[in-house]
């Protein structure tokens, strides 16, 4: 007969299971849980954020078509690299 059905109270069942798990096993399970949480959130460093918004700008060709090398060559100003 399956022993589990004898436990009617879920808390009682939980306590019985905890007794069966050794301290070392519990520690290992906690670490496993932590690793899984880190994988789920991908980057734990980001958990401090409530909201992340993104944006970008792609310049139309005519606005990036300036040849900066040519401009720099023609300059009369002092150049510092």
């Amino acid at each position: 007969m399956d022993k589990r059905i004898l436990y009617k109270d879920p808390d009682e069942l939980r306590m019985e299971i905890e007794k069966l798990i050794s301290f070392e096993e519990k520690d290992g399970l906690l670490r496993l849980k932590q690793q899984l949480q880190e994988k789920t959130t991908d980057k734990p460093a980001l958990t401090k954020y409530a909201r992340i918004m993104s944006c970008s700008f792609t310049a139309p060709n005519e606005e990036t078509g300036i040849n900066q090398g040519a401009l720099a060559q023609n300059t009369r100003l002092p150049r510092v690299n």
């Binding site: 980001l46 954020y49 918004m53 944006c55 970008s56 310049a59 606005e63 990036t64 100003l77 002092p78």
Partner: protein, 230 residues
């Protein structure tokens, strides 16, 4: 402020280029209880007059939706979101600042594309980390400091002085002429710059000093922490 690749956030905007360097800034934005809420339509309209390419930005949050623009401002496809509480406004201001930093980077250094993210803290709710792709660290530092100053002026005074426009003309001119690295080298060229930009010599000297204060020439020497807008 910091400068680097920040791989931990590289997946948060699919438009980030692989291994691109970014400028990171932590910013506190506080609107005092006594001051009225800012008029966002007017704010964005003024920003677009200064930086017309803002209206061409792609925004994951549709930040510019439903904005009633100032009649003098050019029309735009995106409009500002409807802000109805203080935290929404603070968040939208932070995100708008990121757009401005992106626009400055793009226009000064002629980046073909520039992307960023704004990360709002759980606590405190007025704190944000921004990461913006940055081709040139000096320009990155300048863009962040200039943007903080720009928003402070707009939110406190409502208007921008002509020197703000001239400052942008000057920084673009210097960058395109390969002279955005050393202020001392430019001292002898003040007259030439004044002539090229149609300014007075003392105006150029004053603007060069401002650029120095904003970190264009020696970003590591600029005292920065998180900027606070009151």
């Amino acid at each position: 402020m910091a400068y680097g690749e920040f791989p931990e956030i590289s997946n948060l905007n699919p438009r980030f280029r692989a291994d691109s360097k970014k400028v990171k800034v932590t910013l506190d934005i506080q609107i005092t209880e006594t001051s009225g809420l800012p008029d966002f339509s007017s704010l964005v309209g003024k920003l677009i007059r200064l930086l017309p390419t803002l209206k061409k930005h792609q925004c994951g949050e549709h930040l510019f939706d439903n904005l009633k623009l100032d009649a003098k401002a050019p029309p735009m496809s995106h409009q500002f979101s409807s802000c109805n509480c203080r935290s929404d406004i603070v968040t939208d201001i932070a995100h708008l600042m990121e757009h401005v930093i992106i626009d400055l980077q793009s226009n000064i250094t002629r980046m073909p594309s520039c992307s960023g993210i704004t990360c709002g803290y759980k606590e405190p709710g007025y704190r944000f980390d921004m990461f913006v792709e940055c081709r040139d660290k000096n320009v990155g530092w300048f863009s962040v400091n200039f943007t903080a100053d720009l928003f402070r002026k707009l939110l406190e005074n409502g208007n921008l002085p002509k020197s703000t426009y001239r400052l942008l003309d000057l920084v673009k001119y210097l960058y395109r002429n390969g002279s955005s690295r050393d202020q001392t080298e430019l001292g002898s060229a003040t007259e030439l710059i004044a002539k090229d930009l149609g300014l007075k010599r003392n105006e150029v000297s004053s603007l060069l000093q401002k650029l120095k204060d904003f970190g264009l020439f020696a970003p590591d020497q600029v005292k920065t922490s998180s900027s606070t807008l009151n």
